[in-house]
């Protein structure tokens, strides 16, 4: 039980459409780690019987809404949970078709790791490239390429090696350093949880072992200190009459009492008096901890401000270059002002320039006929009504990301990664 308390959390995303075995793979992971309960399995068996299927269709476990089960497709992101004695896992399970790019990006935004599936019979396909490109765009640190349906090609090593080589020649253009390849059969369970007896030529780890042992400690930025203030805590009651603390979640770096800090955008400097939590004060705090920071001086600090180390500050600017994914059915209007949310701060923004549209299947940059619509990814320049405190997304996923909100419908219409 103590072992359980020491577990880490790994978030991974998968994308896929109907026939590539994604649901079967998730079903297999859940089933072989004993994460499926008997009553859930009974329900799947009943549904499978109703549909006239001979055996339980594990993919039925992963579709949540009535409409999805009726149509046999994944529409929205669904989250699945399972645990082994080593780690707890959160799967963001997303559709894989181009028309659901926005859902893939949503699922990828919080992931430490992406699983990309390749059908061993068909090799690297357009959709394989799209999923890898999205993983790269969202800066997912680890990519696991599962070459699936090995059972249908007699578990031949040359087929696996050829696909691996093809993928590597394409992925050299991507911004992902940790890529691994695993030959599997989700249907039969080869190399998913248990080692395959049919592929003695494969000397690497199983998928689950890989997921359990990926090094994720360095996925957060522990260098550049960033503390976006969420709210101010003032108890106004005994014995805390003089208590004034800044609540927030550390976005980067390590903060310690005694550190000299600068409050941005005001530029006031002060020193950290203490880092408070309900369980007592801390001697240091790092991402992604939620804490309350007290300063030695009574300076003006409120929501949207950021505490940083004086010698390491983010950029302060009103012209922001981003890779943007448009999420809304209504296309962006060149004159429209949008609400921009960045960490805990808010402003208005217009899309000032569209530099190019990115083809997420090929990485091709299209500079003509720039009509951005839902699911399109484009490089754009934003102009904001006030300066934002930004870092490059590749340096910090929290201080490097923004969303745009439509002023009248209040819909979240775009997601952006700062360049």
């Amino acid at each position: 039980m103590n072992a359980y308390l020491d577990m880490e959390l790994l978030r991974f995303t998968t994308a896929g459409s109907v026939d590539d075995g994604k649901s079967t793979l998730i079903g297999r992971l859940l089933f072989d780690t004993k994460s499926i309960f008997e009553d859930q399995l009974d329900q799947v068996k009943r549904s499978s019987n109703r549909q006239g299927l001979a055996q339980a269709d594990l993919s039925l476990l992963t579709d949540g809404l009535k409409a999805e089960r009726e149509q046999g497709i994944t529409i929205d992101v669904a989250y699945r949970y399972f645990a082994t004695p080593k780690r707890k896992f959160i799967i963001a399970d997303t559709p894989g078709h181009i028309q659901y790019t926005r859902n893939m990006i949503t699922g990828a935004s919080t992931a430490n790791c992406a699983l990309v599936l390749i059908d061993a019979r068909h090799g690297v396909a357009e959709q394989t490239c799209r999923h890898a490109i999205i993983a790269s765009l969202l800066q997912i640190p680890h990519l696991i390429v599962c070459i699936n349906k090995m059972d249908l090609i007699d578990y031949q090593e040359p087929v696996f090696q050829k696909i691996k080589k093809d993928f590597e020649s394409f992925s050299s253009k991507l911004d992902i350093t940790d890529i691994r390849f695993i030959p599997i059969s989700a249907l039969n369970g080869d190399n998913v949880v248990n080692r395959s007896e049919k592929m003695s030529w494969y000397e690497g780890s199983t998928l689950l072992y890989t997921l359990e042992n990926l090094h994720i400690g360095s996925d957060y930025n522990h260098i550049d200190c960033r503390f976006p203030v969420q709210t101010v805590i003032r108890p106004k009651m005994a014995p805390y009459h003089d208590f004034r603390g800044y609540a927030g979640r550390i976005a980067g770096g390590v903060f310690k009492p005694g550190d000299e800090i600068t409050v941005l955008p005001s530029g006031f400097t002060s020193t950290i008096k203490s880092i408070e939590t309900f369980n007592g004060p801390l001697s240091e705090a790092f991402a992604p901890m939620s804490v309350v920071i007290q300063l030695t001086d009574d300076v003006d600090v409120s929501r949207g401000d950021m505490l940083v180390r004086s010698n390491n500050q983010p950029d302060l600017n009103q012209d922001i270059e981003i890779m943007m994914c448009w999420l809304d059915t209504k296309a962006p209007h060149p004159k429209s002002k949008y609400i921009i949310k960045h960490t805990t701060s808010e402003a208005k923004a217009i899309i000032k320039n569209i530099r190019y549209e990115l083809d997420v299947n090929t990485l091709h940059r299209n500079v003509e006929n720039l009509n951005i619509g839902m699911n399109d990814v484009a490089r754009v320049q934003l102009r904001t009504t006030k300066p934002l405190l930004t870092d490059a997304y590749r340096k910090n996923r929290t201080t490097g990301s923004i969303i745009l909100i439509d002023e009248s419908t209040h819909e979240t219409v775009a997601a952006g990664m700062i360049i």
Partner: protein, 301 residues
């Protein structure tokens, strides 16, 4: 470089606290939907931690069907007194009196569905713009599709096919007057995480969760507690069993399991070995394959 890793419980706690503070910052009039069950107790505990050393800045709202376990009510009043928070009670009985809701009839009648009207009326009466609840995505397949910040239109309805994308840790709580949000800080927690956390933090929970002797009947493959609200038919004979409840809802629909787990440590071991989901004993989920999705669309918890 030293090891800057959080355990999964620390990371989940940090995420939940961040969300609770966003609720405070983004909304004018939030509340916590408090049922007296373990999940809403954990949400309340996390809220206490999020705003420490200040008091919990939200009232607790209890939608009271009148079909409660007496132990739950005692527990509710104790926690309200301990935390010095405001309690708002919406009575399903009042909705029935006023003609807004109609009592179900038949053997398996319950007031579970009737809670929706009372909940929506209470939200409207107090003009809540955010209601924090303890629902988790691992509980049920419709809940697996929920956002942390889940929009409800002016009729309190959920539109699962048209939800706002939720990226990174950015939560969009913008809404028109009369609309509200349901917020689920425990979205990423599993039943096991909740129990581990209750153990690690030594959080007080109602005695019903621990194994105890109780008068029960066998109905729909579960041990249903005998109470004034349940109608026994001729074949049903009450007997005494040592049971515990894995979830708590109304006394009319919450079945127990035979168990000897009378400490938190034993409960954790039992949950780890469980082969049935925790909602398997809840008659409200068994009405149809989509009963949770259907109720949620209408405005249910």
């Amino acid at each position: 470089m030293s090891n800057y890793n959080l355990t999964h419980l620390d990371e989940l706690e940090s995420e939940s606290i961040f969300i609770l503070r966003e609720v405070f910052a983004q909304f004018e009039n939030p509340c916590i939907l408090f049922s007296g069950g373990k999940d809403s107790i954990v949400v309340t505990h996390l809220t206490k931690k999020a705003f420490y050393p200040a008091k919990i800045p939200f009232p607790l709202v209890h939608i009271d069907t009148g079909h409660n376990f007496p132990e739950t009510m005692i527990f509710r009043d104790q926690i309200v007194a301990d935390l010095d928070v405001r309690l708002i009670v919406g009575l399903v009985q009042d909705s029935i009196h006023s003609g807004r809701s109609t009592e179900e009839r038949g053997k398996n009648a319950s007031r579970n569905v009737l809670q929706t009207n009372t909940l929506l009326d209470t939200i409207d009466l107090h003009q809540f713009d955010a209601c924090v609840g303890g629902a988790r995505r691992d509980e049920e397949k419709a809940r697996a599709k929920e956002r942390f910040f889940s929009h409800r239109d002016e009729f309190g309805q959920w539109d699962p096919k048209n939800q706002r994308p939720e990226l990174w840790n950015m939560f969009n709580g913008k809404h028109d007057h009369g609309e509200h949000f349901r917020v689920f800080p425990l979205s990423n927690w599993t039943e096991m995480d909740v129990w581990q956390y209750i153990l690690a933090e030594n959080i007080q929970i109602p005695s019903l969760y621990f194994a105890h002797q109780r008068e029960v009947i066998r109905r729909n493959d579960t041990w249903l507690p005998v109470s004034e609200h349940i109608h026994l038919n001729e074949t049903e004979t009450p007997i005494h069993k040592k049971i515990r409840f894995r979830t708590l809802g109304d006394i009319t629909i919450t079945g127990g399991d035979e168990s000897d787990a009378d400490t938190l440590e034993k409960i954790v071991d039992e949950v780890a070995a469980a082969r049935q989901t925790e909602r398997g004993n809840r008659a409200d989920d068994k009405r149809s394959e989509t009963s949770m999705e259907d109720r949620k669309k209408q405005g249910y918890f």
